[in-house]
């Protein structure tokens, strides 16, 4: 039986990970690829248990490199990655996988089993889950991404967007206290995006930390409480959507080729202050109407 890290065991079994979710911290992390490109430049960032953090930035700003440091796939050239205050350098990736689940951007770099259920079962089985508990996790994860009825079908008959939801389900089934998503809404239709949002909300309710890389500004503004903007491997903005999408931050955003959501633009034009989401805009308009 694999010896599971303490936190993961309690998180796995109980399902509600609130108590067991560790904090995750990057302490002066820099990373230089073999060909010399400096992808991360002295990034220091702390994410407390249960936080919902979106990481945005233009292609090549270090987003994916950042994500791979969280589960140990990449080790910092200098600086440390701390999980629950402990340095993760000595831990095998396979051990970290029980704490930090990472759903990759491209599903075809991950899928291998001939059936949907077998694919989802791969992660939890590696963590030592067997039998009825395993089947239950697979079913719950598939239903959560809307593939409940596809258990027996072949992943490659699902089409790109549903294969992406399948790779999300394969990480969800591991019930890791920290969930990292890489561009989850890319290539999804309206229903697919709604599924992803529901998954993020459910994980938040369970007190788990959700970190997502995305360039879908509406998804970022509506589903996350903290936005980290990366440019050339450095954190240039870090704050709630109201601050990061507020008018004073626009020059910084546009310098990284990012457009704030339409609701934020409209709010500024109407001098209503920072309204990153349609709900905020509507509320501000309602206040103005009464005031």
């Amino acid at each position: 039986m694999r010896s599971q890290a303490g936190a993961a065991a309690s998180a796995g079994a109980a399902g509600s990970a609130g108590s067991g979710t560790p904090s995750i911290e990057l302490d002066g992390v820099s990373f230089v690829y073999p060909d010399g490109t400096k992808a991360l430049d002295a990034v220091s960032l702390r994410i407390d248990p249960g936080e919902l953090v979106a990481v945005v930035g233009q292609n090549g700003s270090g987003k994916s490199t950042f994500a791979r440091h969280l589960n140990g796939l990449l080790r910092p050239t200098s600086g440390r990655v701390l999980l629950g205050g402990a340095d993760t350098r000595p831990l095998h990736v396979a051990r970290l996988a029980g704490l930090v689940g990472l759903a990759f951007q491209n599903p075809d770099r991950q899928l291998f089993a001939g059936g949907v259920s077998a694919e989802v079962a791969f992660g939890p089985r590696n963590l030592g889950v067997r039998g009825a508990a395993l089947d239950e996790r697979v079913k719950v994860a598939l239903v959560a991404v809307g593939l409940g009825g596809e258990g027996a079908s072949n992943p490659y008959d699902l089409g790109y967007s549903r294969r992406k939801l399948l790779s999300l389900a394969s990480v969800l089934a591991m019930r890791t206290p920290i969930l990292v998503l890489d561009e989850p809404t890319t290539g999804q239709d309206a229903r697919g995006s709604a599924r992803v949002r529901a998954v993020v909300a459910a994980a938040a309710d369970e007190g788990r930390t959700v970190i997502s890389i995305s360039h879908d500004m509406r998804f970022v503004a509506e589903c996350f409480r903290r936005v980290v903007v990366l440019r050339a491997g450095r954190v240039v903005l870090d704050g709630p959507p109201e601050a990061v999408f507020g008018e004073e931050a626009w020059p910084e955003l546009r310098a990284t080729f990012l457009e704030p959501p339409l609701a934020a633009l409209a709010g500024a034009r109407l001098h209503l202050g920072s309204t990153p989401t349609s709900a905020a805009l509507t509320a501000a308009l309602a206040r103005r109407a009464q005031g």
């Binding site: 290539g187 239709d189 229903r191 360039h215 509406r218 409209a266 805009l281």
Partner: protein, 271 residues
């Protein structure tokens, strides 16, 4: 002169149920027809049928008829299909021939397959790169391009065959906002310069709002909504059909639903 789908149905080989059911559709040169719809509603299959690739290249069973300029697509040989109708897919990487060292040769791949004389190939390559606005990428290595640039090179390599129609299956769905804008601008430019009829499948209805003249919405393999872009994209039934309306329309609807008086200043603010 048009691509016409007359009561078209289609079922993939080895599949039990039909993917397309009695579709009627018309695409004329110089017009841009947007196609929206939830996943698995038959959008990709519609592209394959309209271009003659289904059943010509992927097999399967086609009911009804597909005419390209009055020619039944089943009567057109595979390579001739490409001369009538250019086809572009979602993933730029798989559309490169993988056998060329420069973008120039990649865009010349199609004309070279036709065995055209070298000077005509050169002329077509510069014309196609110009129509898409990426002539500066000509010396670049096709493998080292960004997603958006890759799609533009793929678009140019299809345009180089000078088809009268273009069928694009979710060209921007794997691109970030910058790449999407790049491709949307290039499509508008290519439509204007080449006068080709464009059928474009797209989830991002903001892109359709910008470049499409008409829009149809598919559901379970048949046409659920059809009409001008403005009409269809502001139709309240979009949400039920799994299609997200453009941001502007969605915002307006939410503000009105909150009982706030709509005004022209508000309309301008969210334009």
């Amino acid at each position: 002169m048009a691509i016409e789908l007359l009561a078209v149905g289609y079922r993939y080989a080895g599949a039990s149920r039909a993917t397309l059911r009695s579709i009627n559709l018309r695409l004329e040169p110089g017009r841009v027809l947007g196609v929206a719809g939830a996943n698995e509603s038959g959008k990709t299959t519609l592209c394959l049928a309209a271009s003659g690739f289904a059943p010509g290249v992927v097999g399967g069973h086609l009911d009804g008829t597909v005419l390209i300029d009055e020619l039944d697509t089943r009567a057109i040989s595979t390579h001739a299909l490409a001369l009538h109708c250019g086809l572009l897919f979602q993933n730029a990487a798989t559309q490169l021939s993988n056998t060329t060292a420069t973008v120039f040769e990649e865009v010349g791949f199609g004309p070279c397959n036709l065995g055209l004389p070298v000077d005509e190939v050169v002329e077509r390559v510069w014309w196609a790169l110009g129509a898409v606005g990426v002539a500066d990428l000509a010396p670049r290595d096709p493998d080292r391009l960004s997603g958006g640039q890759g799609q533009l090179v793929a678009l140019a390599s299809v345009l180089a065959l000078r088809p009268r129609y273009l069928v694009l299956d979710e060209p921007t769905s794997q691109l970030d906002p910058a790449g999407t804008a790049l491709v949307a601008d290039a499509l508008a430019r290519a439509a204007a310069e080449t006068g080709a009829g464009i059928l474009i499948v797209e989830h991002k209805t903001d892109v359709l709002a910008r470049i499409a003249d008409e829009v149809i919405v598919l559901a379970e393999g048949s046409v659920a909504l059809a009409g001008s872009a403005a009409e269809v994209l502001s139709d309240p039934r979009l949400q039920v059909l799994g299609v997200e309306p453009p941001a502007r329309i969605r915002l307006e609807r939410e503000v009105r639903a909150a009982g706030i008086g709509w005004s022209s200043t508000l309309a301008e603010a969210i334009a």
